[in-house]
């Protein structure tokens, strides 16, 4: 009955549907990472010493641990055991990707904040702005623009990292590709297809962010050393 086996390319729509899950992971992870990364960077730059120490520890933990370890740790350890909540694989994956991306993004934003020259803060304070007003009106709008190229890179990284979520059974591109490989007995075609899919998404997304960068780019506003 071997001849009745379906050929792998008949599963292409099935694999492509995995992109919805992949982009849910990427979008969720990036958004959560952004929501974490910006305040962490601000805390690291402007916060009191004790806060900086706490944030440094957070950044080091999530930058220094393999993603697959974090996924297992949170899925089977932190959420069910430590916090006593049962979260599904997708939610756990987004949270872990977000926490990890937040650690990386905080360093992107910290570098961008540092690259805004001190005179900007001085001029803002001299006008009568509070420190908070100066940060939100002057420093952040510049830093966020400066951070876009670094942030584009983070998108490319998290996109590829999202594949590791197959270990928790999230039915994203790689998980589906593996099903196809198992059910058709063909490995080269499906995995190559998946690989090319990631390349296309990396390239396309990077292009989109470049357009955003051009749109919000301001003449002369380039961070030093970012």
């Amino acid at each position: 009955m071997a001849g009745m086996d379906p050929v792998w390319w008949e599963y292409i729509p099935y694999i492509l549907q995995g992109a919805i899950w992949t982009f849910t992971l990427v979008g969720g992870g990036l958004a959560l990472g952004f929501a974490i990364g910006v305040p962490v960077a601000m805390g690291q730059k402007y916060g009191p010493t004790w806060l900086k120490a706490v944030l440094d520890a957070y950044v080091w933990f999530f930058r220094g641990t393999p993603l697959v370890v974090l996924l297992f740790l949170f899925y089977w350890g932190v959420f069910p055991v430590l916090l006593g909540i049962k979260l599904d694989a997708l939610t756990t994956s987004i949270i872990v990707l977000g926490l990890r991306s937040g650690a990386y993004q905080s360093q992107i934003f910290r570098g961008a904040l540092n690259s805004v020259d001190e005179g900007q803060m001085l001029a803002a304070r001299a006008l009568g702005m509070t420190k908070w007003q100066a940060i939100t009106n002057i420093i952040l709008p510049q830093a966020l623009r400066i951070a876009i190229p670094g942030w584009t890179n983070e998108y490319a990284i998290i996109l590829k990292d999202s594949a590791i979520c197959f270990t928790l059974g999230v039915i994203e591109i790689l998980t589906r590709t593996r099903y196809v490989v198992i059910s058709t007995g063909e490995a080269l075609g499906p995995f190559l297809f998946a690989g090319i899919l990631y390349i296309i998404f990396t390239y396309g997304g990077t292009k989109v962010f470049n357009i955003i960068y051009e749109k919000y780019h301001i003449p002369g506003l380039v961070g030093k050393g970012v």
């Binding site: 005179g119 900007q120 001029a123 006008l127 009568g128 002057i138 709008p141 510049q142």
Partner: protein, 253 residues
């Protein structure tokens, strides 16, 4: 133009950075409508003194009053008071991400909380006062010349209706051919009665515009008086030497 009313009073300001005492007790006052020039060799503490006035730098000792309100009193809302003190930086420090017009507006909308249309009108007036014409209003700082940048910075200070404008070496970062346009604007403002305290090496400006020169040396005011007196017949040898050198350098009158 110069009234009797003292708008700024600086009393016995001290500032020390680690092992170096930058200011060793500086006292003076500025009257409404007056233009006062602070001159002196680098390291004399001129810039530090200016920053101690609006508390961008906290003085170790001494007190500062603006229109009778003590800025150095911890109870005073310094953000509120800084709105009344224009500050013009040597390096302009225009906000990079805002156009010329937005640079002048932001203090009015975000700090003074003026409605946008009112702020815009005020900002346009201020820009015209410093001869920044409409074609430049929507340019970003990087698209302006140094002289234009500094004039926008002056407009940014001016639009806030300050009690006094502090100028910290406003022409030192400019190419020589751009110095004139900035000095001209400062002179026009002084003639209109805008109170100014100017740290500068531009002796020509001091002689033409200033009501008094404070000559600083080693963290103190070494001597003070009418510009011609201090420049041409100073009491101290260091003062004489300083102005002699500076006249050679800057070609003052």
């Amino acid at each position: 133009m110069v009234g009797d009313e003292i708008v700024l009073r600086v009393e016995n300001i001290h500032k020390r950075y680690k092992d170096q005492e930058v200011l060793k007790g500086v006292t003076f006052e500025v009257r409404r409508g007056e233009t006062k020039v602070i001159a002196g060799p680098s390291g004399a503490g001129k810039s530090t003194l200016l920053r101690c006035i609006n508390l961008l730098t906290k003085p170790d000792k001494g007190r500062v009053w603006l229109e009778g309100v003590e800025l150095t009193d911890p109870e005073t809302n310094i953000n509120k008071m800084r709105q009344k003190i224009g500050f013009v930086f040597q390096e302009f420090n225009l906000f990079h991400h805002l156009t010329a017009l937005e640079n002048v507006m932001i203090g009015l909308t975000k700090v003074k909380k003026l409605p946008k249309d009112v702020a815009r009108k005020k900002a346009e007036e201020a820009l015209l006062t410093v001869h920044i014409t409409e074609d430049l209003w929507h340019k970003y700082p990087a698209q302006l010349s140094g002289g234009q940048k500094q004039r926008v910075a002056i407009a940014r200070a001016l639009a806030m209706d300050p009690v006094i404008i502090l100028y910290d070496e406003p022409t030192s970062a400019l190419d020589p051919q751009l110095v004139g346009e900035v000095l001209r604007v400062m002179e026009e403002l002084a003639r209109k009665g805008v109170t100014g305290l100017v740290v500068t090496h531009e002796i020509g400006f001091a002689l033409e515009v200033a009501d008094e020169i404070l000559f600083m040396y080693g963290g103190r005011i070494l001597e003070r008086g009418p510009p011609r007196e201090v420049v041409f017949s100073p009491k101290h040898e260091v003062t004489r030497k300083f102005f002699e050198n500076i006249t050679k350098l800057y070609g003052g009158k």
